[in-house]
Symmetry: C2
Subunit: 296 residues, 2 copies
Amino acid sequence: MNAATPLFGRVALIGVGLIGSSLARVIRRDRLARHIAVAARTQRTLDAATRLKFADSTSLDPAVAARGADLVMICTPMSAYAEIARAIAPALKAGAIVSDVGSVKAPVARDVGRALPDGVHLVPGHPIAGTEHSGPEAGSAELFEGRWCILTPAAKTDKGAVEKVTELWRRAGSTIAVMDALHHDRVLAITSHLPHLIAYTIVDTAAQLEKDVQSEVIKFSASGFRDFTRIAASDPVMWRDIFLSNREAVLEILQRFNEDLTALQRAIRQGDGKMLEETFRRTRAIRKGVIAAKQA
Amino acid sequence: MNAATPLFGRVALIGVGLIGSSLARVIRRDRLARHIAVAARTQRTLDAATRLKFADSTSLDPAVAARGADLVMICTPMSAYAEIARAIAPALKAGAIVSDVGSVKAPVARDVGRALPDGVHLVPGHPIAGTEHSGPEAGSAELFEGRWCILTPAAKTDKGAVEKVTELWRRAGSTIAVMDALHHDRVLAITSHLPHLIAYTIVDTAAQLEKDVQSEVIKFSASGFRDFTRIAASDPVMWRDIFLSNREAVLEILQRFNEDLTALQRAIRQGDGKMLEETFRRTRAIRKGVIAAKQA
């Protein structure tokens, strides 16, 4: 593709929190679109988008942003998807691509796909990137660099549409993987959703302690707890939606986790040092795999 | 104290893994002792201590290192404490200080204190510092900078001895807190021991997955799991001993954690988004506390 030719004419970003605003910054930096239309739920967010100079036009109505767009990227919590899809459907032009950045992929075909008219291409996506910070000010054009972006288009989806979304994320610095939506949700239940649930739980357990102990827990948090507080500071609404959207996969892996935790609990109670040491040696091997995969 | 006068004449380090070797480097750098005697279980570790130039003398026998020492610092896994205490007791000179760096403090008075002769001062300590790496090569003189070191001497312990150990850790760059050993163990069960147990569990759950899913879990670990693998790469023997030594406090906080996790599990199963969101908002407040306490 000629560097002077933008990848898209008009891109509509529905929602510009951490991920949406970061993608907007990438599109702006690399001139990947002639026009960036931003829709958000509050005027305050739209004002931020204008102030941060990544929006060419703004609207509280997603249909206004989506009208005439070559790419509509939904970057809101997942509970808003169905309503947004219904709202934008009449405004979409033939050949438009609709994509998203949600952390659970199987529900997208149901919540968004069903509402879309024929001739519109759905390419669900999930950039595996983020921080514990939220909102348009927290975004950065470098957020996706060196990270994975997983796309989960249906088998019959237009190849050209998939290629355009792939190119967008490639320009953002990501490596792209394409997989089945249900498989994605099962893998992410382990790598992301369960760790977040556990971190939220342990930090909430601490939040319910007597105040004097709690202040010491914060004071001496550097011994492990600190890492959990960072994870447990992630956006509450986004994570509520993730757990509700990926309920089955999360509950399944949670059951395995509970069984494993019960076994370790029993080993501690019974003073079974051999079992504890063996388990702790096994887990080191996984860490070595993470380092070898350059994900550490 | 005159900068030219070392804090100690002879210091004996029993064990020179990550913590012991880091402390040795501090003592060497700041000339806090005239002589550093190192004892370790294997010749290989002693050779490393010699090669890394932080040992003035080495021995496989802790009693040889401890003989004539002004400070004996035990830096081994906690399961070795009782045997080491029995071994060094006859070699200790009157007025010697015995300290340690273990992560559980109540058992030290029992395992070490009982074996010591009258006139020897026991000042148990716990530097809240570490990495997931182990061994003498992993140490660094900067490891303790800006970190807490908790001391748990008995009320009747000689104030001069406590002051000398305090000064040692101050020179290492740490801030010192003095507290009751049982209280320490309860706080650390929450901030450190439970997070490690959880991280070990979740990584082990992943270690038991089918190989194809496991390789994808490693590939996409950046989404939360990665942080757990780092924690779960900590020294297996050290952590075995921590769980066995702090069994009661760990089991008590684990029970609270299990109750909280069960409540979240039920909320996911029942689709109770309100409960999930409220919990996730509560945990953000704890993160703000951690940041305000400059522990982030």
